[in-house]
Amino acid sequence: MLEIIPAGENSLIIYFDKKIDSNLLRRISYYSETISKELNKYIIELIPSYVSIFISFNLNHISQFELIQKLERILTKKININDDRDIPLFEIPVYYGVDVGLDLKDVLQKKKMELDQFISIHSQIEYEIFAIGFAPNFAFLGQISNDIRVPRLKTPRISVPAGSVGIADSQTGVYPINSPGGWNLVGKTPLDLSISNNEISSYLRVGGKVRFKPISRDEFISQGGLL
């Protein structure tokens, strides 16, 4: 399935599939780069997300119709995505503790699990970034192990502190700024993941990889973490 559908007078969306998976993510990430490079002079925004790529373009230089033709040319070319492109792994230190992970106790109870077990399950997987949105630099990471999946909170919190690590269904992620949020909070990172931190934006891209590194409460504090 491949569909290009308008999203506005100067925007469109490319749907690649109706199901989320890792192979598709690699294709989407490949095409995002290729389109950005080859059609750079026309493209204003390009948002890859799970199964689609949203594009807004410069109407002064190209029409919707012409752009769709150019996109079709790129999208129908045979590609080899098995190339072992170096995808940088971004490591995020996390203190898993009930004093910062306000839902950790509940999650452990629901899953009838010890904290150590939870930590090893949550931190052993190399997660992939399926989408970025909701807030600047909020990366939707998947997929978390079946053993620790819980639904999102029935009532979202009005304010979740920046740095909080959350889980909801098959996804996990870090709140980069204070914001409302409905995910179960299980820990906190001392890292500044907001867009003010220029060093991380090259890692936080759709298709990128993330792993959580467990740290102690003392390490969390010494790295600047706020309880």
């Binding site: 559908i5 506005g8 969306i13 925004e45 390009l46 919707q64 970025i132 807030a135």
Partner: protein
Amino acid sequence: MSIKIIKPGILSTIQDRGRYGHMHHGISVSGALDEYSYQLGNFILNNPCDSASIEVTYGDFSFLSLDVMHICVTGAETEISINNQPNHLNKVITLNQGDIFEIKCPKKAIRNYVCIKGGINSAIFYNSRSCNVREAIGKKITKDQVIKTFRVDNDNLNSIDPSLAPKYENDLITLRVLPTYQFHEFSDNDKALFFSQVYSISKDFDRTGVRLNGGKMTDVMKGVISEGSAVGSIEITPKGLPIILMRDAPTIGGYPKIGTVFSLDIPYLAQSGYGQRIRFELMKYVEAESERRSFNDLFGIEA
């Protein structure tokens, strides 16, 4: 050159044309919601089309001018004054050092743009001076805040025929909609309802989005896999009612969308408050493209 805020009003923020090219980081476009009034003010002052101005919501705004400067106020019909002497929208006003400029609460529309010759010289973040409170980019303007403006050497100014200024006094506005995203997946009944009924703006409306009240659609799909959202896209919630996404909205979202409001009709929505009656009408892409291009040409907008 600078001004000092006396009354900030409920919500006044610095806005320029917007923050483009960073949506893949989850950064919204932001920028002046009523693009027409914003461009008009800068055009009259002969400013570049991306000069930063002050977007004042619901008036009740005043400042002290600390230098001699030219300003132009556009947008909602309202009383404005210099040292309590009434003045007019949509024309150049010269302020002297020590003058007090004031905007009263507008009667019907809700937003004014205070454009200043040379533009506002505030911090740039990701290529833009626009404030986005939700994203913690910038803050709303506060009492006693000093706002700097660029010094300009040229005194080139424009004037316009006042009849060219947009009017926001309609009891019922029609927003033109492009059939985008999941348009074809909505049932015929739901589409018929959407394009025939008169909606009204609920109490939930801000720079992020505008929620509408009205008759509810009945066969709305549960949700879609989160996808990039255009400004103006019309999400339909599981309850069957629309939310129109504005410039501060999150960049991706998972509600199905029945269409996208044409960008040049957004200013009319941006000027509307609680209870405003709204109806929708289908628009052809070719018309939208050509109208948008003419607008870009008129104001010298590059994209």
